[in-house]
Symmetry: C2
Subunit: 260 residues, 2 copies
């Protein structure tokens, strides 16, 4: 199953690495609009590279589009006239529907790794959940076979449920990280170290492996402890207005949940 990889960012690099270690899924070519990036990744994956759509191999079995969300439709439009009409074209986005590819290709789908990637960081791929959406049973099967070579958790879903999962991913990854960042700034202003909080953050995650988040909730908002909440709000007063708003909104949500 000959594969062409479109993209050279975080997701393209990690998926390229994961796929290139599999048997039966040779990556033949890497495309990036930046010539050097295409070459760098291609060198790692031991394949050819190009920065021109017109130079793309036209007869690969699978075109894997791993570019920024807002580039997907543009790339699809360019790809359409360059490749065999029977080719399977899939993208890796959590937020963009698989159906956006339907005007351009007969065989299309999505192969969404539910994970946050850092380019330079080594990853264990086998426990990354892969969500699969496709235009036909046969295409679903092809994508699932590939995903199962990489991961132990592969799930078929619809574009609609993929969006729910993508939003949830923002809630549990992007947003907690933003809160870590606010805490880091606050501690830094007071010459205190963020690393003090690491064991607490680790335990936050440990807990939800075995108990539901609702049960794991602790803290002043959970107890509706007004004097502590007032004290925290006073501390936040001199900082960006936004921090206090975040504090108030999440506190309200916890109180509403636990003191209905």
């Amino acid at each position: 199953m000959k594969i062409v990889l479109i993209g050279s960012g975080n997701v393209a690099s990690h998926l390229g690495k994961a796929i290139s270690s599999l048997k039966g899924y040779p990556i033949a070519q890497v495309y990036s609009r930046t010539k050097l990036n295409a070459k760098k990744l291609a060198d790692k994956l031991n394949c050819t590279s190009t920065d021109k759509i017109s130079d793309l191999i036209p007869n690969a079995d699978l075109y894997l589009i791993a570019v920024n969300d807002d580039e997907i439709i543009k790339v699809a439009g360019q790809l359409q006239n360059q490749i065999q009409s029977s080719s399977l074209v899939i993208h890796t986005s959590g937020s963009i529907y698989g159906a956006v590819l339907s005007p351009y290709f007969k065989n299309y789908g999505v192969f969404y790794p539910l994970q946050t990637f850092t380019k330079s960081k080594k990853m264990v791929y086998h426990n990354i959940p892969f969500l699969v959406v496709a235009s036909s049973k046969r295409n679903t099967q092809i994508i699932i076979e590939l995903a199962k070579q990489i991961s132990n958790t592969v799930q078929i879903c619809t574009d609609a449920s993929k969006s729910i999962i993508h939003l949830s991913a923002a809630l549990v990854n992007n947003f907690p990280n933003a809160l870590f960042d606010i805490a880091a700034q606050l501690l830094n202003k007071h010459k205190l170290q963020f690393s003090l909080l690491i064991p607490l953050i680790e335990e936050t995650v440990n807990k939800i492996r075995t108990i539901r988040p609702e049960e794991a909730q602790t803290g002043p908002a959970k107890r509706n402890d007004k004097s502590v909440l007032t004290h925290h709000r006073a501390i936040l007063k001199p900082y960006p207005e936004n921090w206090l708003k975040i504090y108030n909104e999440i506190t309200s949500a916890i109180i509403a949940r636990h003191h209905p």
Copy 2:
């Protein structure tokens, strides 16, 4: 160093267990206003129990108050006339100042474990940071010696910096957990499993062990990807109003931080 433990909740149970395994720190008695709870914990710690302040051993070296924040001052007031005036009295609260004990005792302090405790869950104590505040150098030394028997990370601080750390703990533990809970509810409404998100949550924490939260930030808000943000907001529309407000406030904070 004879110790009396005041309280029988999560923190009292865990600290009692940690201290009772040390040499030279015998726990002589457990007090709880609920007789059965006092006895249950005392049985585990192999000591006596009481639910009457008037039955408290008057000549212990250390009284460790591990009760709800809003009970601390009341308990301190009751304790004052019951115990030797030379006794060291410390509480374990992150949010309550050590200084609240000063009207009642000559020797006082705080011994704040920066961790979230679940009563039934086993804990590793040696990597829990302990923050120590005390009324004198000598008292600081006594509390530090005890804390160092339990943990590898012991830090002296002031009441003011303890408050900053306590607020930060809410930001990195209570609030992310509340977001996990919202995601769990959202997924549940769509018959999707929260467990799908666990590897992503684990990686969120893995990242900040080695890179700063600011660098670890990813997602649509980080990219200021308006079409995804709009899509997420539309999904949240039918849910509690609060969820959308949280989404908008954290999104604004991320955009302000990364697109100043």
